[in-house]
């Protein structure tokens, strides 16, 4: 069985914990992280909005801020390494960048199971417990899906009548 575990900032620990519980011992596990490209584009775009300022030469002193892409790749690698050590099992890691929900669906091709966390309102059962990204992924996943509540699921009484 090939399982893809989608690692997201904030909810990754719960996702990993549930993956450990549910995945069979012989599952081939891939931990996936997708960096949203638009955030970097936005930060770079704000610089372009500063009219007339040329690109900086590296000045002396502490190193100037690293390019966002570098920061982002480093953070993703660290997060995946931490998730793998928390998993405590052999796992492949995969780092992608782009439109997050599309990249997750593309990465799930050929997998038997996708594990992801709910990313919306966690206080009650219902459609809002999925944010736009998880909603898209659940709707378009080309495989079975294990949908994790990041903490204890709310009681049935919270469901809309």
């Amino acid at each position: 069985m090939r399982a893809l575990v989608w690692i997201v900032e904030d909810t990754w620990e719960a996702t990993v914990a549930e993956a450990v519980g549910f995945l069979p011992a012989d599952a081939e596990i891939t931990l996936l992280h997708v960096a949203p490209q638009d955030v970097e584009t936005l930060a770079a775009g704000a610089r372009h909005g500063l009219l007339g300022r040329p690109r900086h030469h590296p000045p002396p002193g502490p190193p100037p801020p690293a390019p966002l892409r570098e920061i982002s790749e480093e953070a993703a690698a660290e997060l995946l390494a931490e998730a793998r050590s928390r998993l405590g099992r052999d796992a492949r890691v995969e780092s992608r960048r782009g439109r997050v929900e599309h990249e997750v669906v593309a990465a799930a091709e050929g997998a038997d199971l996708l594990v992801l966390a709910r990313d919306g309102d966690r206080s009650r059962l219902g459609p809002h417990s999925l944010g736009p990204q998880a909603r898209f992924v659940v709707d378009h996943a080309p495989c079975q899906v294990l949908l994790v509540w990041p903490d204890t699921p709310p009681s049935v009484s919270t469901a809309p009548p």
């Binding site: 638009d38 982002s72 953070a75």
Partner: protein
């Protein structure tokens, strides 16, 4: 030369300069384009030599002021202020994305107000991005907040934005009076931003967390840089009382933060010169001459017919909205250069309404203006695959509300203070 032809030439020079600036090349082609445009306009007689000299003389003190502020901001970076702010954000957030956003708001507003929007965009944003990533939380709301506040928090002080410096020079407001008139509008715009951003990103901010991320080793805030900044601000506040032009206070601040670094060879005179961004200063001067040519040949009278001359609330609202529109059509620097002289006879409130428009308006797009966005698409310097609908939607939420709220509070402040 007939006025019509001179106006067309001046507008062409302006468009060429903006196009060069939008390409944002490694070489200072925007400064070259601005100077070439200005020289051609004077050579063909669209602007007399005396008028060009007059325009440069007018802008001179503002450009000097800008140079001092740029050196001051670079000094703060060199002393490690921004890395230390990253530590403050990481520790203060105590693992909560919402608390992190509140701290990012506070820090971005303070950095923008004191060190100008350039410092927030160039120096603070990467630190915020890295801090959020290290805390294993989504950087999206925090980077959006930096990007928005770089514009909307730049209303407060004359030093917060080059547009303010340009306008400050034409009013007879003191530094403290300017800040007093703008404090409530800034607060109103920030309240709009907070309401919009914290709801817009509710999903990102409300994600449950099982464990608090490991706390970082907190870098100590550089005390020397903070003392220099505090003294510089105090100097600004006292400048009119003791009769010193604020530009000298800025120069003293720049010298104070640079001298020890020069003495211990942590920087060089050449690096300090580059920190003042000479090509940017030249660009501003060239742009000033080009806009003067356009204004003198009919653009100013056209703007005059559009812009209300009173300072009643409907007048101020219309001024702010028109300024925001023009800032999006031609970017906020040219918009300020065009509109401030036209608004100036209407009084300080009218000039400050222009500033609310040109400072808040650019948040409609992530690159500061629709013009830049379109130019970048046309010139293929923009990655087409990127989805930025989210930013435009957020701008559509905050900009109209910010303009209206800010202008209403400006009108109230002007009732009391002018």
């Amino acid at each position: 030369m007939p006025e019509g032809i001179a106006l067309v030439l001046a507008l062409l020079a302006l468009a060429g300069t903006l196009a060069a600036a939008v390409v944002h090349s490694r070489w200072p082609i925007e400064a070259g384009a601005a100077v070439a445009g200005a020289v051609v306009l004077v050579a063909v007689g669209a602007l007399s030599v005396d008028d060009a000299r007059d325009a440069i003389g007018d802008l001179g003190p503002t450009v000097g002021f800008l140079a001092a502020l740029l050196v001051l901001a670079e000094g703060c970076r060199r002393e490690g202020l921004f890395d230390a702010l990253g530590g403050v954000l990481a520790t203060g957030a105590r693992g909560s994305p919402r608390r992190l956003l509140a701290l990012v708001f506070a820090v971005a507003a303070a950095v923008t107000a004191v060190l100008s929007l350039d410092a927030t965009v160039v120096l603070l944003t990467p630190v915020v991005f890295a801090t959020a990533s290290r805390l294993r939380t989504s950087p999206r709301p925090h980077v959006y907040a930096c990007s928005h506040l770089a514009n909307s928090a730049s209303l407060l002080l004359p030093v917060s934005n080059l547009t303010n410096l340009l306008a400050f020079h034409t009013t007879d407001l003191s530094f403290t009076r300017f800040a007093g008139l703008m404090v409530l509008p800034t607060a109103a715009v920030l309240a709009v931003e907070w309401t919009a951003l914290s709801r817009f990103f509710a999903v990102d901010l409300g994600r449950p967390r099982r464990a608090v991320a490991a706390t970082e080793q907190r870098a100590a805030l550089p005390r020397f840089a903070l003392i220099v900044l505090a003294l510089t601000l105090a100097g600004f506040a006292l400048s009119s009382a003791v009769g010193i032009a604020p530009v000298w206070v800025a120069a003293a601040g720049a010298a104070a933060i640079s001298a020890p670094a020069l003495a211990r060879r942590a920087t060089t005179p050449l690096a300090l010169g580059l920190a003042a961004e000479p090509s940017f200063l030249v660009f501003v001067l060239g742009l000033g001459v080009i806009v003067r040519a356009a204004s003198d040949n009919g653009l100013a009278s056209a703007a005059q017919t559009l812009l209300p001359s009173g300072s009643a609330l409907p007048d101020l609202l219309l001024i702010a909205v028109l300024s925001a529109v023009l800032a999006n059509l031609v970017n906020n620097l040219p918009a300020t250069l065009i509109l401030v002289p036209v608004a100036a006879p209407g009084g300080a409130a009218a000039v400050l309404a222009v500033l609310i428009g040109v400072n808040v308006g650019p948040n409609l797009t992530y690159v500061g203006s629709l013009a830049t966005l379109l130019w970048r698409r046309v010139l293929h310097v923009e990655d087409h695959s990127v989805e930025l609908g989210e930013f435009v939607r957020l701008g559509a939420l905050t900009v109209p509300a910010g303009l209206v709220a800010g202008t209403i509070l400006l009108w109230c402040s002007a009732k009391v203070l002018i």
